[in-house]
């Protein structure tokens, strides 16, 4: 584990009118790593992801992506650097087709503005669309959603929508992929599928992944490293093995929750 650090959080704190969602959290994510964040509900996991993606501004601390500070960059600019994410609650473009949803992920990679877009055949927009469509089809193949590519996103089942959201995030060509409970509410079979996709993206495509997940079996199987949050504080950070054996984690989290798995 000597790969270079891709993302670093230094002393991150975040408060909402009295509620301290994050308290002095520091962490590192190394290139190519799959890092899981666990912790009870309300521990601040989603808040931490929001700080990384730019939705929330930490009240203290600084974030570094690829060694440069990103704390003052707006959300959209962070996406252009290659930070992609999925949401805990579904957040697709409900009236667009699956294909269009995924193509939106290519936004920062496409060059044609509205004028060339409107002229379509004349300004090169058609050529560009087709070029990018190839890559989008690879993502569609990986996630096995060929059969729904023309379906309107809002009409799909919960499990499929989660998959499309993952596809859309991958279309950004992220260097860092943030996943907020990608398997929540899924049955065993669907979970296995998603776990397989995440592993493939991490192993084969070399995308660094930070994942919030409650299913301890999945976390222990997939993660290179695990961070544990409790009441906004980082209480542990280590390999799955170390986390499973940590007394503090057991007391704060595993002991109280259904940690049998």
């Amino acid at each position: 584990m000597s790969a270079k650090v891709l993302l670093e959080g230094r002393d991150i704190s975040l408060g909402f009118r009295g509620v301290k969602a994050l308290r002095h959290v520091s962490f590192e994510v190394r290139e190519g790593e799959l890092l899981s964040i666990i912790g009870p509900n309300g521990a601040g996991k989603t808040s931490l992801l929001n700080c990384i993606s730019g939705r929330y501004r930490p009240s203290e601390g600084e974030l570094f992506f690829d060694s440069r500070p990103i704390g003052s960059l707006p959300t959209a600019a962070r996406a252009r650097l290659g930070i992609a994410r999925t949401f805990q609650n579904l957040a697709l473009f409900a009236h667009m087709t699956v294909l269009d949803n995924i193509m939106v992920g290519r936004h920062h990679l496409l060059k044609t503005g509205f004028l060339r877009g409107g002229l379509y055949w004349l300004g090169g927009a058609q050529r560009e669309e087709i070029e990018h469509r190839r890559r989008v089809e690879e993502i569609i193949d990986l996630l096995e959603i060929e059969h729904i590519r023309h379906a309107v996103a809002g009409t799909l089942s919960y499990g499929l929508r989660k998959r499309v959201e993952l596809a859309r995030a991958l279309a950004i060509e992220p260097r860092l992929l943030l996943l907020d409970e990608p398997m929540a509410g899924m049955n065993l079979e669907e979970k296995e599928d998603i776990a397989r996709y995440i592993m493939e993206v991490n192993d084969e495509w070399g995308v660094t992944v930070v994942m919030i997940e409650h299913d301890m079996g999945v976390v222990m199987d997939l993660s290179d490293r695990v961070i544990v949050l409790n009441y906004g504080e980082k209480i542990a950070d280590g390999t799955p093995q170390e986390i499973a054996e940590s007394a503090e984690v057991r007391a704060a989290y595993l002991g109280s929750a259904d940690a049998a798995a």
Partner: protein, 357 residues
Amino acid sequence: MALATARPCGDFRTSYAADKTIFPTRGSLIAALVGILALLALPLVLDRYGLSLLIYIGIYGIGALGLNLLTGCTGQISLGHAAFFGFGAFGSTWLSNKFGVPVALAIPLAGLMTTVVGIVVGLPAARIKGLYLAIATLAAQYILEDFFARAEWFSGGAAGAHARPYELFGFRLAGESAYFYVVLAHLVVLYVFATNLLRTRDGRAFVAVRDHYLSAEVMGIDLTRYKVLAFGISTFYAAVAGALMAHYVGFVSSESINILLSIQFFAMIIIGGMGSVMGSLMGAAFMVLMPEGLELAVHALRSTSWGDIPQIVNGLAFAKEAAVGLAIVLFLIFEPQGLAHRWRLVKAYWKLYPFAH
């Protein structure tokens, strides 16, 4: 004909280009070409009255499409659309009267001028949503109305402005049959442009901003930029429509540019279908033809024995006035997705014919 435009079962598209085409089958392309040829031949068969209705439909259709790009596609309400329509109308007459700009050029130039105004309105508007945006655009409507009434140098003030007839390379294209082609050309170009826009990067960004702005941001879309861009493009369409109207009617008065017209544009996109390009034209057609249809009905009734009963005749005349409001309410209740959606259902029915249930 309908059968030919539907994609038969088993017709798989084998290239990405084919998958993205506006015309999914050879049949639909042929239908479109035949349709355009038929439109081109219309001045040979229709009288001036019929043509004037089509001209109005085309002009309002362009304006409605502009509003639809802003409201239907990007999710930003505007009650100031008529003001931009008016700015285009006055702008084009001003450019052609004061500076001798040829009308054919003055129309798109007025469109660009108005786009600047639209962006100025859109910049603060990008920070507010929903009802607040509705009120802000209403304020823009009143400010511009006031400007039209006072700025004599620009609009002729209370007296209004005379507009020159359309001229292209020294040829005068006035009168219904000639002007029909002028409007048709603008209509086709602007409708094809919007259709293309919506299937490429920036058009998808508009819809993304509407459907889920948080996700849109996470996808690298700059919300302010796209909200303002939508205002700009929308006002360009409104202004070209207004300019076309000015040079058709030959006169623009500040009184005709009122909030009622803004609401009528709104009605067009509700009736035609929010976010639908062709729906904008259907909505415009509905709004132009409905009062004419009611007028015909009143007329026909007058000549029957019922025509002597003043309550009925007056009632119908009143219904004509109220019909716009009534149509909006009925569409919101029974056909909230608009005429375009109904049309898609009809097409889908024919596609499966004779196996539809």
